[in-house]
């Protein structure tokens, strides 16, 4: 047997993420004792209509979130208990609504920081409607083998250690949430465990007091003794003593009261409560509570540590008088284990999971990213630059100093080419339309292809092919290209020619061939090809895409990575254009009619639809 919560308890949780976490913990208990899910609905307007995933062991349940308690109860009329997890400013209203709902008999409130006036009114209202409000600031209610409301009891392992899978003979009532767990453990360690444990919350005016719960335990035949843990302040413990001493009670009472240290603390530094205001009679002090309880016949050890012995003593007495029958020890191995997560089993090496993707370049699982094994901060410290990161992430190799200088120049030279080219223009149009940075840059990026900037990869690829297949036969290479590919990528320019050379090409070729020791078979080959093509036509020069492509092949970058250099370099320019347009607060642009040749049909009448 139990009080307040049992196997028939069905709960709604009012509140957001804290409530969801509680529901998950509660489901672990449901799994342990093999009962149906306790939480059957959530009420949280911001997440109306969502389904929350709750595992009861390995079984996945979806619990609906409702916008209102009324709606939740309409669809789940079996719900008889409400748990309040909502913030202090709305907790009162929620609790009143719950108390006023027909099916709900018990409301328990975890919310902390509820104004005292609200708590007092809730208590009064609950008395008027004949229901129970537990809390505020309550960690929850536990009925061993029956029901868990809230996170009381802690982790799964502890539920077993405290024998909470089956009822014992001790009731527990505490103000402190942390000590409710401790008290349940003490009852399991020194006795046969609990029937129910209630945390009433440490606020000045709990919705329900010790006396009310003591009376419930007195009426529960399975509860033979009750442990209460009280604190200095207020007079709830004195009232409990008065109740206990008023007549012969069936239950044994054991108590611990915190706050005796206040007697010796320096003047002014008292752990007390406004309830002890008049001071002279000492009402509300820990000492007054202890004395009252002892006089009423309760067992009150002088420290909390003494509770162990007290519980053991009462347990042995109750066994000796036959009130508590010894029961066979349950083999804990028979109890279920929470199904572990895949990660946990993998750690133990007991399962193989085929990975979904594989990476060979970077790892961010440690304290900082590592690129092909090198810590990013160490690269920075040792003077490496962005070119080296490119070398690592694109080619898994650290470039030499010379190579880095070349890569740097390629990116610098390609970073921007003015607003008129397709990429920059695309970004500018997008920026003027008020599009945000990533999308505007993407708009420019979509322009990169066969006609704009996309020739680097193919130039590198085919010149490399030439070096390999037609090393000393450039005419042969050209005729193979004509037959199989078409115009040679990287050769030809719209405006530049032999007489009007491309300054960038000239610079790069000169830099690589005269300022570095790089072996450049591919570039040399392309320059030989250029000699032949320019002999045919003045503008069939090696253009900047071709030059870059060949140098990158000579730098040993994979051929399919080559366009990446253009993409990366141009991104810098496109971002610049987007910022520039935003700085100027540019207006939306549209083409002037005179820039469009309207080669359209004359105006005419729409025929009737056939």
């Amino acid at each position: 047997m139990s009080i307040l919560a049992n196997r028939d308890t069905r709960a709604v949780i009012i509140g957001g993420v804290a409530g969801l976490n509680a529901a998950k913990r509660m489901a672990q208990f449901d799994f342990l004792i093999n009962r149906p899910l306790t939480v059957e609905a959530f009420v949280y307007p911001p997440e109306e209509g969502q389904q929350k995933e709750i595992y009861r062991g390995g079984e996945l349940n979806n619990v609906t979130v409702y916008a209102s308690l009324t709606k939740a109860l309409e669809e789940n009329p079996q719900i008889n208990t409400a748990l309040i997890y909502i913030g202090a400013s709305r907790a009162y209203q929620s609790a009143i609504e719950a108390l006023d709902s027909k099916g709900i008999k018990l409301v328990t409130m975890i919310t902390e920081g509820v104004p005292e006036k609200d708590a007092k009114r809730l208590r009064k209202h609950a008395l008027e409607v004949g229901k129970t409000i537990n809390g505020p600031s309550s960690i929850g209610i536990m009925s061993a083998g029956e029901c868990r409301l809230g996170v009381i009891g802690g982790e799964f392992k502890n539920l077993k250690l405290c024998n909470l899978y089956r009822p014992g003979s001790f009731g527990v009532i505490t103000k402190s949430g942390g000590l409710s767990n401790e008290a349940m453990w003490l009852c399991a360690q020194n006795g046969n465990g609990i029937t129910s444990a209630v945390a009433i919350g440490g606020d000045s005016y709990p919705g329900t007091d010790f006396v009310t719960y003591l009376q419930m335990f007195e009426n529960d035949p399975e509860t033979k003794a009750v442990v209460i843990v009280g604190e200095v302040g207020g007079t709830l413990e004195e009232e409990a003593a008065e109740w206990y001493g008023a007549e012969k009670r069936r239950i044994k009472l054991i108590a611990a009261i915190g706050g005796t240290c206040q007697d010796v603390l320096p003047q002014g530094m008292k752990f007390g409560h406004a309830g002890a205001k008049e001071g002279k009679k000492g009402l509300g002090s820990a000492r007054s509570k202890i004395n009252a309880l002892r006089e009423a016949g309760a067992l009150v050890p002088d420290t909390f540590g003494g509770l162990s012995k007290a519980i053991k003593q009462v347990y042995l007495e109750l066994q000796a008088t036959g009130v508590i029958q010894p029961e066979p020890e349950l083999d804990e191995k028979l109890l279920p284990e929470l199904p572990p997560s895949v990660q946990e089993i993998m750690k133990q090496g007991e399962v193989i999971v085929e990975p979904l993707i594989r990476t060979t370049i970077s790892d961010d699982r440690g304290e900082e990213p590592r690129y092909v094994g090198y810590a990013a901060s160490e690269l920075c410290e040792k003077g490496y630059g962005i070119e080296d990161v490119i070398g690592l992430l694109w080619n898994k190799k650290l470039p030499t100093k010379e190579e880095s200088e070349i890569i740097k120049r390629i990116i610098m030279i390609s970073a921007d080419h003015g607003p008129a080219v397709s990429g920059a223009f695309g970004s500018i149009i997008a920026a003027c339309a008020g599009i945000d940075l990533p999308q505007a840059v993407s708009a420019g990026m979509t322009m990169i292809g066969p006609r704009f900037g996309g020739a680097v990869t193919n130039a590198g690829k085919y010149f490399k092919y030439g070096v390999k297949e037609y090393p000393n036969d450039i005419p042969g290479f050209l005729s193979w290209m004509k037959q199989n590919v078409g115009p040679v990528p990287g050769i030809g320019h719209r405006v530049k020619s032999v007489k009007n050379p491309d300054k960038r090409v000239k610079y790069l070729v000169e830099y690589v061939t005269t300022k570095t020791t790089l072996h450049t078979p591919c570039l040399d080959y392309a320059l030989e090809v250029e000699k032949i093509t320019t002999a045919k036509k003045d503008n069939l020069i090696l253009n900047v895409d071709g030059t870059i492509g060949c140098i990158l092949v000579d730098l040993d970058f994979p051929e399919y990575s080559l366009n990446g250099f253009f993409v990366l370099a141009r991104t810098i320019g496109m971002i610049g254009h987007w910022i520039d347009q935003n700085n100027q607060n540019s207006r939306l642009i549209r083409l002037y009619d005179y820039l469009i040749n309207y080669a359209v049909k004359e105006e005419r009448e729409v025929p009737d639809k056939k």
Binding site: K120, K124, N158, L179, M269, K270
Partner: protein, 411 residues
């Protein structure tokens, strides 16, 4: 004045407020107060003097407007002054350092010449509130406690003015004074209720019979700080709750507390030699009790709870290790519901290591008892400190919670 003890376990709910804001609230609800000004710059008083006749013509009282106990003895209350003297007193007080706190504001109020002093207080209880009333107010009220008449006000009910007047008559007030006192009480009830007060004590409420002028000369007001979400005009902060200014270490821990999920708390108790590094509001008090019950003396009160981040616990640990003359540190706690023992112990372990490297913890014994999520890993890590030369004794849940205090004191 009757001393109001404080509650350290729910420290954020009961908030004592200074006289200035209390007077402002009284004014708002029509409870008579003397003329007063709160100033930070003494020169402002000169300007105010030019603008306000009462400052030039009345006797004045100057008080440090700070949460400093025993102000009278410290010379932080000066009575019966004229404006020049008040200015001088304000100049002397502002900037004075008392412990770790500095006087930054003074309140200058009119010292009303009066004929009689009364006592009125209201305090909440579970079922409503209770008014206490005496016509023998003033500093000797405790000696006249038998003259106090009481009026219980059930929750959400308002007593009629006739009913209050009856109680006033019972308390020995007569005629028009009884009626006027009843009126003040009915306003006090409104103020108490609407402002979410927990207690208000006016002592003395004075009367000058020549013009039947009343004024609350001194008042102590506690409000429910948890209710601040519904009081947009609460422009004050609650004052120190421990009867003295906070120490630097306490202030540091409070600053951390304000920034984190969960909480860390510290109150120093000078002269003790057993330091507490305990978890949870309930258990921490029981550890203090156990030390006292076994004849020891605590060097501090501390608690960490609600699964605080490890760095916050580390900071608390280092602060506690620096307490002077400690012989034992009690790392105690119940079986946690959801505070991660491994993570919080990690913070404590780092704090111990750091403190040791700075030369603290010499000849200090450390006693550990804890349970909760990841207890095995947390306790094992703590136990490993033995290998690093710490005098540390580690126990799991099978050790009764506060019995490590017995072990420490018997060692």
């Amino acid at each position: 004045m009757v001393f109001l003890p404080i509650n350290i376990q729910i420290p954020n709910s009961m908030a004592k407020i200074l006289e200035g804001p209390a007077m402002k609230l009284f004014n708002k609800w029509g409870i008579p107060v003397p003329n007063y000004v709160v100033i930070m710059d003494p020169n402002r008083l000169e300007q105010l003097g030019e603008a306000n006749k009462w400052l030039r013509e009345s006797k004045l009282v100057v008080k440090a407007h700070e949460a400093i106990g025993g102000r009278f003895k410290l010379g932080l209350v000066k009575l019966g002054l004229n404006l020049d003297e008040a200015l001088k007193a304000a100049k002397e007080m502002i900037g004075r350092e008392i412990g770790t706190s500095v006087v930054r504001q003074v309140i200058v109020a009119e010292m009303l010449d009066h004929d009689e002093e009364y006592y009125i207080s209201i305090a909440g209880n579970r079922d409503g509130a209770e008014i206490l009333l005496s016509n023998k107010g003033g500093v000797d009220i405790e000696e006249h406690w038998d003259t106090v008449k009481r009026l219980f006000i059930p929750l959400d009910e308002t007593p009629s003015i006739e009913h209050i007047t009856e109680v006033a008559l019972e308390a020995g007030f007569i005629g028009e004074i009884a009626e006027r006192v009843a009126k003040i009480i009915s306003r006090l009830i409104l103020c108490f209720d609407v402002e979410d007060a927990q207690s208000i004590e006016i002592n003395p409420l004075v009367i000058r019979k020549s013009d039947m002028r009343f004024a609350a000369l001194d008042a102590v007001m506690n409000v429910d700080w948890d209710a601040r979400f519904r009081h947009a005009d609460w422009d004050f902060k609650p004052v120190s709750e421990i009867g003295r200014p906070f120490t630097e270490a306490e202030q540091q821990i409070m600053d951390i507390d304000a920034r984190i999920k969960g909480s860390v708390k510290l109150v120093e108790v000078p002269g003790g030699n057993i330091a507490l590094l305990t978890a949870g509001g309930g258990a921490s008090v029981f550890y203090s009790d156990a030390v006292v019950a076994r004849g020891g003396s605590i060097a501090n009160y501390a608690e960490y709870s609600g699964d605080p981040p490890d760095w916050a616990v580390e900071a608390l640990t280092e602060t506690i290790c620096m307490l002077p003359d400690i012989k034992h540190i009690i790392v105690g706690g119940a079986i946690a519901n959801f505070t991660d023992v491994k993570a919080t112990f990690n913070g404590i372990i780092n704090g111990f290591r750091e403190s040791k490297s700075k030369g603290y913890l010499e000849n200090v014994k450390i006693w550990v008892r804890r349970g909760g999520p990841n207890e095995n890993q947390g306790l094992a890590a703590m136990k490993k400190l033995q290998e690093e030369g710490f005098d540390i004794h580690v126990y799991d849940r099978s050790m009764p919670m506060t019995d490590i205090v017995d072990l420490a004191l018997n060692s």
